[in-house]
């Protein structure tokens, strides 16, 4: 086994999360990969179609891998459609992890599918954990039943478009961020979602006194090799498959203003 050779994993369960997203639990067919940390990603290979980077969205600790996949292209569509028994090639773990050492209060901010890489963090033992998650509509919110059952996390859900059955917030994630109680000196903020979302959220948090050093973002580009050799995922001085996806905001801030991918 090398970092270049996909390791066979079999789909154990496939849970439909939304109209375009599913969560797959993968079990090694024989040999297993090293343990993943929250924030890291794997290259998932749909046989005969291609390979895409997908973050880990759960760490059960039993050797299985958990990935939440949104169907946006040919490869992710094939992975999305993979039912139990399907064999998928997996390479990893790749990239950097969320830095949680010394975090007292965790503020987790997610937009859309960006909740998936943050899901494993919600079980981290912090003094206080707040999750602010946004989506287009109620139907687009991931892990709704699971979030409703979290007793140790203050959950704030907000959608762009509310409907009659929605009793949460309507608006962008920056709005609750501007007013939720937080202690800027104790808060470690983890942001994952579309880059403009992370940029605007970071500005809101800086305005509330959270230091840039305590803000982490997850950046994504066209990861291919996973080990910093091919250069496809270069963003300024970073090769995001190796130096990212999790990046400190002081490093990420100027890169988030890059006009082209």
């Amino acid at each position: 086994m090398t970092t270049w050779t996909p390791t066979p994993y079999q789909v154990v369960t496939r849970t439909v999360e939304t109209h375009d997203s599913v969560t797959l639990v993968l079990r090694p067919v024989a040999e297993s990969l090293p343990a993943f940390s929250p924030g890291q990603f794997a290259m998932l290979y749909a046989h005969g179609i291609g390979e895409v980077p997908i973050s880990i969205s759960g760490i059960p600790g039993d050797g299985t891998l958990v990935h939440t996949i949104r169907a946006v292209g040919a490869v992710s569509r094939a992975l999305h459609d993979a039912g139990p028994g399907t064999v998928i090639g997996v390479r990893g773990p790749f990239g950097t992890a969320w830095q949680l050492d010394g975090a007292e209060d965790l503020l987790v901010v997610a937009g859309g599918i960006g909740l998936a890489p943050l899901r494993p963090v919600l079980g981290h033992p912090a003094k206080r954990t707040v999750l602010v998650a946004g989506a287009r509509t109620r139907q687009d919110l991931l892990y709704q039943d699971e979030l409703a059952g979290l007793s140790d996390v203050d959950v704030v859900l907000t959608v762009d478009h509310g409907d009659h059955d929605w009793h949460g917030r309507v608006g962008f994630v920056t709005e609750p961020l501007a007013s939720i109680p937080l202690d800027p000196d104790r808060t470690t903020a983890l942001l994952c979602g579309p880059e403009p979302m992370m940029r605007f959220c970071a500005r809101t948090l800086l305005g509330r006194g959270v230091r840039a050093e305590r803000i982490q973002v997850s950046l994504e580009r066209n990861m291919q090799c996973g080990i910093g050799l091919c250069g496809h995922c270069q963003l300024g001085p970073l090769l995001l498959c190796r130096d990212g996806p999790v990046t400190g905001y002081p490093t990420a801030e100027p890169l988030l203003l890059a006009k082209e991918l």
Binding site: G112, A135, G171
Partner: protein, 153 residues
């Protein structure tokens, strides 16, 4: 019921005001508690008060046939509800409903305007508070127009 002054002193929204100025606003305010589902105001109604939500959540809505009432935006703890009292014709542009049990400071805006007219320093600080809140609301609305969470497929 007149708002206890400690309540207004604790509001982050009003931290730029002096204790005396906050006390003046407390004098034209009261605390109200609303059950979930309580209608606070209707589109076209007279806009003669505004709210600072203390706990709970209020949704601003409008009617879009045939969809019925459509939620436009939520107002949560610490946020200001109601702009239409600021400029003529003082009629609500949208409606608002408490979607959870909600506690709010309710300000008599006619009396507030009188306070601001009599004390331009207070009026100026109030204007800055309102502009700040308006800017935040406008920027968040603009970001939502980007539809950032759409599936790019």
């Amino acid at each position: 019921m007149t708002t206890p002054m400690t309540d207004l002193d604790a509001l982050p929204l009003l931290t730029r005001l002096s204790h005396t100025q906050r006390a003046a606003i407390a004098g034209v305010s009261r605390i109200e508690t609303y059950e979930a589902g309580t209608r606070l105001f209707d589109e076209g109604g007279l806009a003669d008060q505004c709210w600072v939500v203390l706990t709970g959540c209020v949704v601003i809505d409008t009617v879009v046939p045939p969809r019925g009432k459509v939620a436009l935006q939520s107002i949560g703890p610490g946020e200001l509800l109601g702009w239409s009292w600021l400029v003529p014709p003082y009629r609500w542009h949208f409606g608002a409903t408490a979607v959870t049990s909600t506690r709010a400071a309710v300000v008599d805006t006619g009396a507030l305007r009188v306070l601001a007219d009599e004390d331009p320093a207070l009026g100026y600080q109030l204007s800055l508070i309102l502009i700040d809140a308006l800017l935040n609301r406008l920027q968040a609305t603009r970001i939502r127009l980007l539809d950032l969470y759409r599936n790019p497929a």
